[in-house]
Structures are given as C-alpha cells and as structure tokens.
C-alpha cells in the first residue's frame, strides 16, 4: 500500500517532469499540453461533484462556457483583460461561474441521481442556446475571435510562457481541490455520497453541503473557461455544447472518479487520442471507443484502479486495507 505522502510526491514529480519536458518537445506538443491542462481543471471540477459528492452533472460546460465567453466578450468589446487586468478576468470568470452555479444549483440540488443529471443537462443547454442565439453578444454560430493573448510584462503570446501559466493554474487548482476534499467539509461530502440519509440524521445540512460543492465546481469551471478561451483564441457555441459536458464526465470516469488525478489522466488520454493520434491515423475513433469500452468492462474504478487490479491479480490481499474505499480515496 502506497502511503499518501508518496502519492503526493509522485504527483509533484510528474508535474515537475512535465514542466521540464514539454517545452523541449515541439510547439504542437506544448499547445496540446496547454489545452489538456486547461480542460483538466474542468474535469477535476466535475470530479468534485461526481467523485466526491456523488452528483453526476451533465451541464458543467455551462460554467466553462460563461468563463470563456466572458473572457472573449471583455477582450473584444471592451479591450479588457489583455494586460495586467487579465488577473481580474480570471477572478471575474471564477465569480461568474460560481454565480451561475449558485443560480442553477437552486434548481438542480433539490434532485438526485438521474433527475439531477437531467436538470443540469437542461440548464447547460439553456446556456448553449444563449451562446447560439444571442448574436449581438456572442456572434452566434460564428463565435468570437480573440486578438492575441494578454501581455503584462509577461508575454503570454509565447506558447511556452502560456504553458507555464496554465500549468501553474492547474497545479494551484489541483492543490486547492485536494485540500478541499481532505477538509472536514470534503469528508462530509463523501459522507453524503455514501449515505445521505445518515448524514441528515447526524445533523448535517446536506442540501447546503451539496449546494456549496456545486458552486465551487462552477467556480473552477469558470476558471477553466477563461484559460480555454486563450488557448486557441476562439470561443464558439461548440465550447458550450453538450458534448463538452459529456466529455468531461467521461474523462473523469475513464481516469477514475474521486481521485482528481484520475480526472487529469482521463483528460490527457482523451486529448492525446483525439487531437494527437488523429494527426497520425484515421482510425483514432476506434482507439478512443475501445479505451472507453475496456475501461467500463474491466476497470470500473477507472485507470486509477489499475494498481489495485494488479495487486489483486498478483494474489495479494487488497481487501485487508479497505478495498472499497481505496479507489475513492483522493490521492
């Protein structure tokens, strides 16, 4: 059994390795890594809901979308956020994401299970509809082009510089969420996931806990959106479309829900197959489909469950150490 400290060390070491290797490996890889990490923040926010609170949200693209559109609209219509005020946009993006989640949460949190899924889906589609139809603000189907990235002494127009910035945001988000899920608040979320009724009987206001988790996830979704808008300099309704929500959910399931790291691995694999493998071979979709099917069939706990599967297979008794809890433990 690997201890928590070792796991943290592995994550820190991988991030450091990433920061070292990526800039030396071709500009396209830099771009892909940047996109992956920006999207991984969204995937981790989904994990807060799915993995730690037991809520499968199908509308996470909404918060991602408002963050991205906020960035694009401010930059193109008000020339705001292209200098030091970029940091203000980051804060605004998180606040807007959180505010929207606070509004949507009022409708969604009342329900659970598949009903929660349907309500978040519907609310997410409302945002997509706005993006698609509010032509004067969003440019409709054509979307919005940003003219370059912010420059505040540090020129983010340089892909490598921007990569480091996104890496920093990614690491900070992961740390914040990790601290959050390990806090008493995070523990009570896990309690709600396991058995909500018991938590209520113990005197917890479970509605409020879920509502707060929903708002926090929305805030991180907004942050991911701000960064995403700058990765490609283009925001369109495709950013907010249902498949973005579904993708983020699938990435979490693929990597392993309730681990944060799993969400990141899932994102990396999907982006790797969809955006890198697709430049090499035409059958990348089969590879992606195959990965999904095999994961669901053999790794119900996602790729983060692989070490445990291996231990089981080797015949060691993983059960002793609390087998069920293992995969859902944050690592």
């Amino acid at each position: 059994m690997v201890s928590q400290q070792v796991k943290i060390l592995i994550v820190v070491a991988s991030l450091a390795l990433l920061a070292y290797i990526v800039p030396h490996s071709g500009s396209f890889v830099v771009l892909l890594a940047t996109r992956t990490m920006a999207f991984a923040i969204l995937a981790m926010s989904v994990d807060i809901l799915l993995g730690f609170t037991g809520l499968s949200s199908m509308g996470q693209a909404a918060y991602f979308g408002v963050g991205a559109y906020l960035t694009a609209v401010l930059a193109t219509k008000f020339h705001f956020g292209m200098g030091w005020d970029f940091w203000l946009v980051v804060v605004l993006g998180m606040l807007l994401g959180a505010a929207l989640a606070a509004l949507f949460g009022l409708f969604a949190i009342r329900a659970g299970g598949v009903y929660f899924l349907m309500i978040t889906l519907a609310l997410g589609q409302c945002v997509w509809g706005l993006a698609y139809r509010w032509n004067s603000l969003t440019g409709g189907d054509n979307g919005i082009n940003l003219s370059g990235r912010p420059n505040f002494g540090l020129d983010l127009g340089n892909d490598v510089t921007f990569f480091y910035l996104v890496l920093a945001f990614f690491a900070a988000s992961m740390l914040t969420m990790y601290v959050l899920v390990r806090s008493p608040f995070g523990r009570s979320l896990a309690g709600i996931r396991e058995r909500e009724l018991r938590m209520q009987i113990l005197g917890y206001n479970t509605w409020l806990h879920k509502y707060l988790a929903f708002i926090i996830a929305g805030g991180f979704g907004g942050l991911a959106g701000v960064l995403w808008a700058h990765t490609n300099g283009h925001v369109s309704p495709e950013t907010v479309v249902l498949t973005t929500s579904v993708d983020s959910l699938l990435m979490v399931v693929l990597g392993g829900a309730g681990t944060l790291v799993g969400a990141t691995i899932g994102t990396a694999i999907v982006f790797g197959l969809r955006e890198y493998l697709s430049t090499l071979v035409p059958w990348w979709q089969y590879a992606l489909g195959g990965v999904y099917v095999l994961t669901i069939l053999y790794l119900p706990m996602g790729l983060m469950g692989v070490p445990r599967r291996i231990r089981q297979w080797l015949g060691s008794h993983g059960g002793k150490e609390g087998s069920k809890k293992l995969a859902t433990k944050p690592s």
């Binding site: 290797i21 071709g26 771009l31 979307g143 495709e238 035409p282």
Partner: protein
C-alpha cells in the same frame, strides 16, 4: 554543458516517442488541408479532400512543377479543433499554406491563425461573408477561392423579381449561414420591388417541418429556402405533401449535388442559385464531371469542385512564381493576377481576395445528360449571371457601409 545535452536528449527522445518528424527537403510544396473527415460532416469533408486530391492525382502529384506533400487533418467539425490542427500543420509540419475548413465558424476561427503564424490560409469552402468584407484588414494572409454566402443570392433575388414574383416567404436554417443567404436574397429582391412578407427560422438540423409549414402565409407567391444537409431532403417532401404548391426559389445548398441524388421527383421544377452546377455545359466541366464520377462513383458538388479548382489555382500560381513558393504576400499577388478557367466557369479574385465568378440559376430536371444512360436529377442551368462580385451591383464602398447580414438585417419591413 551536460545539462544542455541532457535537455536536448530528453527533448528529442520525447519527440521521437511521439513520432514527430522534422520538415522535409527543399523543392517540396507542403500543403495542409483541414476538413471534417469524421463526425456529422464526414461525407462533405471527404468530398472536399477528394476534389483536391483528384487534381493532384491527375497531375502526377505536382503543382507548378513542385512535388506536393499533402497532409489532411481532421477538424471534426469543431472550430477550436480546427485551430489546434492548423497550428499543428504550421508548427510541426511546417506547411507553406493551409487550406479548407467547411463551416463558416471554422473559417472565422482559422483566419486569425494565418495572421499570427504568418502563413497563407486559403478558404476553399467556408463562406462567411465578413471574412472578405469588413474584417479582411485583420487577415493579410487570407484568400478565399470559394464564395460568400450572400453572393449567389443577390443574383437570385434579382432573378425572382424579374420573373414577376412579388411576395416571398423565406424559411431558412437558424444560424449565421442562413442569415447571410436570406440577407442577400432579400436585399436584391426588395431593392427591385419585391416584398419579403414572412421569415421563418427552423433550427439547424430540423427534420420535422410540421410546426412551420402551416404558418406559411397564403398570399405569398413564392418560397425561398435555405436548407442544409438532411433538412434539404425533408423540407420539399413535407411541403408538397402538405399540399402547398407555391414555387420554390431556393439557396443552392438546398439542392446541390450533395443532396440531389437522394431527392424524390417532388423537387422537379424547383429553382436554386449557386456558383456551381454539375450540369454546366462547358468542356471543362463535362471533363471534370466525367473524371469525378469515374473515380468516386457519384456526382461532384461544389464542395469537390471548389477544392479541385483551388488546386488548379495553386498549380498556375506556382508555375508563374517559377516553380517555387515565394512567400505568402507575393503568392497572394500572383493568385490575384490569375484568371482561371475552372469547371465552374471563369474565376478571378477581387481586391478583397474573394472570387468574382458566375452565378447559375438552376432548375431541377429529370433527364439523361452528359452521355449517362439513366434518367437522373440535374441542376439544369436556366440563366447565368456572369462575373458576379460579392458586392453585387452595389459597389464595394456602399456595400461595406451596411452591417453584415444578420437575423434582423435587412429588417423585415413587410412582415405583419
């Protein structure tokens, strides 16, 4: 020193592991081609690639004497994936130019990449009006070889008015492309004295027109439609079976060769306008249609023709540049000086880098044509408007002073 070496080693090991390759030797023209070869628009994406590749195959994989390295990238019908792929083509494959992009939104997303990477982008299908109008100054390395959405529809508006139609109902897919086609038609139609009395906007992808057809005003004497993909198949069928016999005068995409072979006899007699028809009766087009059908077993539509003639354009431009690629600015100048005899007819660029080309008013007919022995549906050309500019007869300055066509522009003055 050691750390430097380590860095390089590590980097190259990683690059190798990912299968990166450096740029190849000289005298090779590297062309990146972006099309949605998977996803919802996969078939159209394939048609685009086929058109370009057919020209390459006919010319020994050479353009203007240069060997061509043709790299197809899949944008999956998503603008931001298109951007990623365009950057991949420029940064990793070091292409001289990238071509393609189907959707208007993809065109809008790709144009800035050409500016930031200082690489030529040729839009060979995507037709968003503003790229070669009010926004052109932002994109010095952008050229369009296809059309603007409103271009054929100005001519169609004039034609409909000349036929004596007075009141039109428009029904068009509810997105930017639909707005621009309607805008072109309405502007020319109303300037000539016609009236658009109703606008109906079904969402993109509508298959059941049940809620829309009964609302069509009875006093209209014609219907203008812009239907895309599966919508194009469903709309005429459902309209006619609802007993509405009003003539349809439509955008060319509602009846192009991409959907025409799958349509029923109810569309015979419907009129549409576009800058291409497989039934154009010129030796260039007949040869193109024959070769295309022999190779791919289907009728070529404008998706294929526009890319075929783009390759033709490049061939001529490289030839004039002396068998080498002279850099984007010089290359654009050469492209602007060329008068091309394409299958679609004579084409040249205006000073806003958009084609000036023929617009064909076409009527669907069932007949034998071009030596094929079966009765088929053809878009027979009934009138040709030669050398139509994106500004129609309004002149560049006057046209550019008005806003881009939108859902509410031109306003529907005669709607009740």
């Amino acid at each position: 020193m050691t750390s430097r070496l380590q860095t390089t080693l590590l980097g190259s090991a990683f690059a190798l592991a990912l299968g990166l390759t450096g740029p190849a030797g000289a005298e090779e023209l590297r062309i990146g081609f972006i099309a949605p070869v998977t996803g919802l628009y996969a078939q159209i994406g394939k048609d685009m690639v086929d058109g370009f590749q057919m020209y390459l195959a006919e010319h020994g994989n050479k353009l203007g004497g240069m060997d061509v390295k043709f790299i197809v990238e899949d944008d999956q019908g998503k603008p931001d994936t298109g951007v990623t792929k365009a950057k991949k083509l420029v940064l990793q494959d070091k292409v001289h130019m990238f071509i393609g992009g189907l959707l208007a939104s993809t065109g809008y997303a790709l144009a800035p990449v050409s500016t930031s990477e200082k690489t030529l982008y040729i839009s060979s299908v995507s037709s968003a009006d503003d790229l070669t109008q009010r926004q052109l100054s932002k994109y010095p390395y952008f050229v369009r070889t296809s059309w603007t959405s409103s271009l054929p529809h100005h001519a169609l508006g004039q034609w409909a008015c000349d036929q004596g139609y007075k009141k039109a109902v428009v029904i068009a897919a509810d997105y930017a492309f639909g707005y621009e086609t309607v805008g072109g038609f309405q502007k020319a139609f109303e300037d000539c004295g016609g009236k658009v009395i109703q606008k109906i906007w079904p969402p993109l992808g509508t298959k059941d027109f049940g809620p829309y057809i009964p609302t069509i005003k009875a006093d209209a004497d014609m219907i203008f439609s812009t239907m895309v993909g599966p919508m194009a198949l469903q709309f005429p069928k459902q309209l006619r079976s609802a007993g509405i016999k009003k003539p349809i005068v439509a955008s060319g995409v509602s009846y192009d060769e991409f959907v025409l072979p799958f349509m029923g006899d109810e569309v015979i007699g419907d009129v549409s306008a576009l800058h291409y028809s497989a039934a154009i009766d010129t030796p260039e087009n007949q040869a193109f249609v024959k070769a295309y059908r022999a190779k791919y077993g289907k009728m070529p539509g404008y998706y294929s023709e526009n890319n075929y003639s783009t390759a033709m354009w490049l061939d001529e431009a490289i030839k004039q540049a002396g068998g080498k690629y002279p850099g984007p600015e010089a290359f654009i100048k050469i492209m602007q000086s060329i008068k091309l005899k394409a299958p679609r007819g004579p084409v040249e660029l205006d000073d806003m880098r958009n084609p000036v080309e023929n617009v064909y008013i076409k009527k669907v007919e069932k007949k034998k044509m071009s030596g094929y022995d079966k009765d088929e549906l053809w878009n027979t050309v009934i009138k040709t408007y030669p050398r139509v500019s994106q500004f129609w007869t309004y002149g560049k300055d006057k046209f550019m002073a008005q806003p881009v066509y939108d859902r509410d522009f031109p306003a529907c003055k005669f709607c009740e």
